[in-house]
């Protein structure tokens, strides 16, 4: 799932870098404020743990093997902000020193695995874990952290213009789903074991709402991710969708006033418009579902 350099088109790696870098900066400052500054080395040792745990391979079905990814486990043991920071640190190290993932693609990889994966785990638990089905929340968190990260990576590759035949896309999605299920089961088992060893090690997010909302949220994420995937393998349909919503029109109008000179270049790069529209759509849908979930939760409590 680590995207190397040379795979992504410039708007994608630059755009995701511009999104991830400030986000990591904010996280770093927040973690520094919340933790005593001198406690930061502890996070580093836990990052080394994730790095090492990823090396424990075990056989799965049909000759494939799997390993823990760990973003959900860290979310439930260190808290989401620290987990995202630790995962970012691991990705930075892998890109710089181990040539696992590109340096320019670091923004995209952090976006997918550190931010997307941790957020997926955090939200899944928040919305799914009511006392009775706590295990479901943990399982879904683990599974979705991997699935969302992988699907985002595939969507970014698709938006960058790498054409993936439908058959191969199907195989990669099934493998991703299998990896997700394994991660979910492993995260659930691990949390049970760790809670038995020392309850202090487990810090679950506060469960905020009804499971129905959680299922809706997760369904929405899956639908949007799937939609972007389908759209990116068939770029025409994305263009059609953008036209239909009037997104392209509005983007053009928005750009006309401040950037009149660049308009011609912008239109001469239809793929840029497509990529921007796709990512903006994904971000907007995700933000909307989070906002709606928050609002509903608040109304229920208040």
């Amino acid at each position: 799932m680590h995207i190397p350099d040379g795979f992504l088109s410039t708007p994608i790696w630059a755009g995701l870098g511009a999104a991830s870098l400030p986000a990591v900066g904010v996280l770093a400052r927040r973690v520094q404020r919340e933790l005593a500054e001198s406690a930061v080395p502890r996070l580093g040792v836990m990052g080394a743990f994730v790095f090492a745990a990823q090396m424990i391979n075990f056989p799965l079905a049909a000759g494939t093997s799997g390993h823990l990814v760990g973003s959900a486990l860290l979310t439930y043991t260190l808290g989401p902000a620290s987990a995202a920071l630790v995962m970012s640190a691991v990705l930075i190290l892998q890109a710089l020193v181990f040539q696992d993932g590109g340096i320019l693609a670091l923004g995209a990889n952090i976006f997918n695995m550190a931010l997307g994966g941790v957020l997926a785990a955090h939200l899944s638990y928040q919305y799914l874990a009511r006392s009775g089905i706590r295990g479901v929340g943990i399982f879904a968190g683990g599974a979705l952290s991997v699935f969302v990260a992988g699907a985002l990576a595939l969507a970014e590759l698709g938006l960058s213009g790498v054409r993936i035949p439908t058959a191969i896309l199907g195989v990669s999605l099934s493998l991703l789903a299998l990896n997700g299920l394994v991660e979910g089961a492993l995260t659930l088992l691990l949390l049970r074991l760790l809670e038995g060893l020392n309850p202090r090690w487990v810090q679950m997010p506060e469960a905020v709402s009804r499971p129905a909302l959680g299922i809706l949220l997760i369904g929405g994420v899956l639908l949007v991710t799937g939609g972007v995937l389908v759209a990116s393998t068939a770029p025409d349909s994305l263009e059609w969708l953008a036209e239909e919503i009037g997104l392209a029109e509005r983007a053009r109008n928005l750009l006309e006033t401040p950037l009149a000179d660049y308009q011609a270049r912008f239109i001469a790069w239809p793929w840029l418009a497509q990529a921007a529209a796709g990512l903006a759509g994904l971000a907007a849908a995700f933000a909307a579902s989070v906002a709606i979930g928050r609002a509903l939760a608040r109304r229920r409590r208040g």
């Binding site: 795979f7 745990a53 075990f58 790498v162 088992l189």
Partner: protein
Amino acid sequence: MHHVVLEQWARRTGPVHALDPRVKLGVTLLFLIAIAAGPPLSVAQFAAYAGLLAGVVLAAGLPLGGVALRAGIVLPLAGAFAAVSWLAGDSHRGLTILLKSYLSVFAALTLVGTTPVARLFLGLKRLGVPASLVLVVQFVYRYLFVISEQVQHMRLAAKSRGALERAPRRYRLMVPAGAIAVLFARSYRRAEAVHHAMLARGFTGQIEAATPLRLGAADLVAGGAAAGVVLAVRFAF
């Protein structure tokens, strides 16, 4: 192992090793952007970029073959995607991915092969990466080898207890989960022990560099020249 060789290379001395890590980071970034944001590489352009990297590697006194071979680490993945693109009828893009990703990894290897990791992290911090993030990265790197070794010990111990290569189906996830839980417990305790030991020795939140970075005229001239050559290759071919 991969990183051990890289560290040995990084510890050598020479004109490229002596450059300020900030300059090397900047030039590497410029090189990567020139490749990534440029049009599909022509043969001449690929040769020019490769020649440029080879020149730096040779000037640094690193084995060119070793670096070129190690950069091949990205080829399986890039090759797979090239094959997929080729299947989809877009062989040109496949070739572009292959060439661009190889050159990018080559450039990253040239950077870490000529810069000790500690200097690299210090450079990142001076370039504005948040200090707490750099601190986490430093500690991941420091304890990565310690904890990986623990994994090796645990693997050996499991083998000597008669562990099976393939656990019976119903234990297939329980076995790795148990191993990872043990590793978590040991790492967590180690993290606390390390933290306490550091506090006892007067740690206040930042690691100070024994030899601080100093940006000299030679660094700026070399960096400017390298940037100029990269831009020349980008726009001349």
